[in-house]
């Protein structure tokens, strides 16, 4: 039995944070705008306007580097409450077309419009209508990718930015992927790209020549995903409420940390942040991960899975303390620490524990 062909749209807001800032402050229009951390510290670029991109600035780049690339860039601290409000507005628009909306972040979402009536059955017409409504109702510009699965829809939305609308038809997927460099695959990170290159895999066509068992030897449980996308196949459904897999917090320090005590202090406040994020969502997690990025950017993680779920900072701190012992902190300067709790499960009412007297 063949699965029915789905119609998936990936919507990606163009330079979202920067576009919101330019919308709200007309004097910023036409200027290279960088939203993110301060260039004096170790902040990074969250988003930048297309004017800024011309200078080679891109997101996740250290702000300090961005200012060197474009000394005239206007740096703006992010206003997340505003972005969240705009995002809610946009998601409400999506829900006028389908209930199957899977937000990936504030500015990105997958929509499954297979069952959406009207528009002569054309997902492209739906995507065009969504783009129009976003522009009318928020004054912002979005790019859309239309295809028959999530992977291709997302690839497609990248192809025609900004204000793009790109369709990959059923039957075109395999050819499209074959020509694509593996580094441009969503789901293939830098590390995987390097490993693929080392194996002589540079394009989708190269990847397609690898049988699944061979891929499995190298990439383990990610192998079936790579095997499928090399053929333009992606069976992942659009999941309306994407379940959170982890809750974490991390901090890049203005100056490298050398001493364990200072790190413990930082971990305390990170654990407190994680705790309040867990509490807010009434979640707890079985696995606690400590992330350490040394001054030379080498990054390691150390995890521990507990029998009793982690819920509070005081659950985490003794374990974080022990995990620090498994790193080279104290010998090597540290620029970033992170704390993540994963293996999440909702806090059942019975997990709330009223302590009793020990007579």
């Amino acid at each position: 039995m063949t699965e029915p062909i789905r119609k998936i749209i990936h919507i990606d807001m163009d330079a979202f944070y920067a576009a919101v800032e330019q919308r709200d402050n007309p004097e910023l229009r036409g200027l290279p705008v960088v939203v993110g951390g301060s260039p004096e510290g170790r902040g990074v670029v969250a988003t930048c306007s297309y004017e800024a991109r011309r200078f080679g600035i891109h997101s996740a780049m250290p702000s300090a580097r961005a200012v060197r690339l474009c000394p005239d860039a206007v740096f703006i601290r992010p206003r997340f409450e505003v972005y969240r409000a705009v995002s809610r507005r946009i998601q409400a628009i999506f829900r006028d077309y389908t209930e199957l909306v899977e937000p990936l972040s504030l500015d990105e979402a997958y929509l499954d419009v297979t069952e959406t009536p009207g528009f002569r059955g054309s997902a492209t017409l739906i995507a065009r209508d969504i783009k129009r409504r976003i522009r009318d109702e928020t004054g912002l510009v979005a790019s859309a990718g239309v295809s028959y699965n999530k992977f291709l829809a997302k690839q497609a939305s990248d192809l025609d930015k900004p204000d793009g609308l790109y369709l990959i038809r059923p039957g075109e997927g395999a050819a499209f992927v074959a020509a694509l460099p593996v580094g441009r695959f969503h789901g293939v990170g830098k590390a995987t790209e390097r490993r693929m290159h080392a194996l002589g895999i540079h394009t989708g066509a190269d990847l397609r020549r690898w049988p699944l068992p061979d891929l499995q030897q190298v990439f383990g449980k990610r192998a079936p995903f790579y095997f499928d996308i090399a053929r333009g196949i992606d069976r992942r459904p659009v999941q309306p409420s994407r379940e959170r897999k982890s809750v974490g917090a991390e901090n890049t320090f203005p100056a490298d940390l050398h001493h364990r005590d200072a790190m413990l202090e930082e971990l305390q406040s990170l654990a407190a942040k994680v705790e309040s994020a867990l509490t807010r969502r009434q979640l707890q997690g079985m696995t606690l991960t400590l992330k350490v990025k040394y001054a030379d950017f080498q990054q390691i993680t150390r995890s521990r899975t507990a029998r009793k779920p982690y819920r509070t900072a005081s659950d985490m701190l003794p374990v974080l303390d022990a995990l620090l012992d498994e790193t080279e902190v104290g010998q090597r300067p540290v620029r970033l620490l992170g704390v993540t709790v994963s293996g999440l499960a909702p806090v059942e009412p019975t997990d709330v524990e009223q302590l009793g007297f020990s007579w």
């Binding site: 009434q282 900072a313 009412p349 009223q354 009793g356 007297f357 007579w359």
Partner: protein
């Protein structure tokens, strides 16, 4: 038996004793009140085999005697007679006849000999104290008693007589209330008894705020409190109460002083969005600031912020809001003192003006 009595003189004591009559009894006679008419007037006794109440009243005793009659029916009849009516009570073979003006009721009876009473409770060393003081002592502690706990000895109130004070302690294992009266108490021997929950509630109902003296007696199996027109007797819980002194924390450094009413109201509001069953609220204490936060399973959230006096270490600790509210509600002072140790240790709440009362609350892991 043949007596005449004013409706009001009969109704008041009947209403005082009716509380212990269970609606469903193990023994038929327990649905009845024992009426005894003699030289000392009329006495009415009810019991559930644990708590016994005896009320006395004055009337014209033409002929003495004793009988038991259905208690609730008698109360309902007397209550619905016209005000100021004179009620006559006589016996007609094995029937009791209640008549007043143009009304007449014939009630079934059971012999007085079938009615279980407790006369002698054994040797005691009576203590006399103002009724209002005993009431306050119970009122400000009883809410911490356990309810149907398997640790049966917690389903009651500990009364402890020292040579110089009377103490009451109630705990359900999560929180504890301790109150003490000193001044008018003087006994030779120390004594500890556990009064069962029902007895405590009945006693609280009977006591008022007056300065009238009551007589308190503790024996090895009973507690007896004698008021001018009423006598309360209850069996005791035979068990060993935990060593409550051990759980009263010694808090030195982390002491918060807050306006009691402000804190109470903030807790009431915050608990609206706490988990309905567990009522958990989170305290975040920092220099002169208290934040109270609650969440419920619907992920709604309440945040309260209060200015307090606090110079201790920053603390984050969860509590059952109901426990704190019970304690705050029992206090009278403008301010409350709250001493904390950490998120896993008991905290101590005290009235700033009345040192006689302390409340210990264990935290909650949220």
């Amino acid at each position: 038996m043949n007596i005449e009595i004013q409706r009001e003189a009969l109704l008041r004591p009947l209403q005082a004793v009716i509380g212990v009559v269970e609606r469903r009894q193990t023994l038929p006679v327990l649905a009845n009140a024992l009426l005894v008419a003699g030289d000392e007037g009329l006495s009415m006794t009810t019991t559930d085999l644990e708590v016994e109440l005896v009320a006395r009243t004055e009337g014209q005793i033409h002929e003495g005697g004793q009988i038991t009659v259905p208690a609730r029916k008698l109360v309902d009849i007397v209550r619905n007679l016209p005000e100021g009516a004179t009620v006559r009570l006589t016996l007609d073979q094995d029937r009791a006849v209640v008549s007043a003006e143009r009304s007449r009721f014939t009630l079934a009876t059971l012999p007085a000999t079938e009615f279980p009473t407790v006369e002698d409770i054994g040797e005691t060393e009576p203590v006399l104290l103002p009724q209002g003081h005993l009431r306050e002592l119970i009122d400000k502690t009883h809410f911490s008693m356990a309810v149907q706990d398997v640790r049966y000895y917690l389903n009651g109130l500990l009364l402890e007589l020292d040579p110089e004070r009377l103490r009451a302690v109630a705990t359900d294992g999560h929180r504890l209330a301790l109150g003490e009266l000193s001044g008018n108490v003087q006994v030779q021997n120390s004594q500890q008894v556990i009064v069962p929950r029902k007895g405590v509630q009945e006693l609280l109902r009977l006591l008022d705020d007056s300065d009238d003296q009551v007589r308190l007696e503790l024996s090895s199996n009973h507690i007896r409190v004698t008021l001018p027109e009423l006598r309360f007797t209850s069996k005791l819980i035979d068990g060993r109460f935990p060593d409550y002194q051990r759980v009263i924390p010694n808090v030195e450094g982390n002491v918060m002083l807050a306006d009691r009413e402000t804190l109470r109201q903030a807790l009431v509001r915050a608990s609206i969005l706490s988990n309905e069953k567990y009522r958990g609220v989170r305290f975040t204490l920092d220099k002169d600031s208290l934040k109270i936060q609650s969440n419920n399973p619907e992920q709604e959230q309440a945040d309260e912020e209060l200015a307090v006096d606090y110079a201790g270490t920053p603390l984050e600790v969860g509590f059952n809001a109901s426990y704190l509210l019970d304690a705050l509600g029992a206090m009278q002072s403008e301010q409350v003192r709250m001493g904390l140790v950490d998120a896993n240790s008991s905290c101590l709440l005290q009235d700033t003006e009345n040192a006689g009362y302390s409340y210990v609350v264990m935290p909650m892991r949220l």
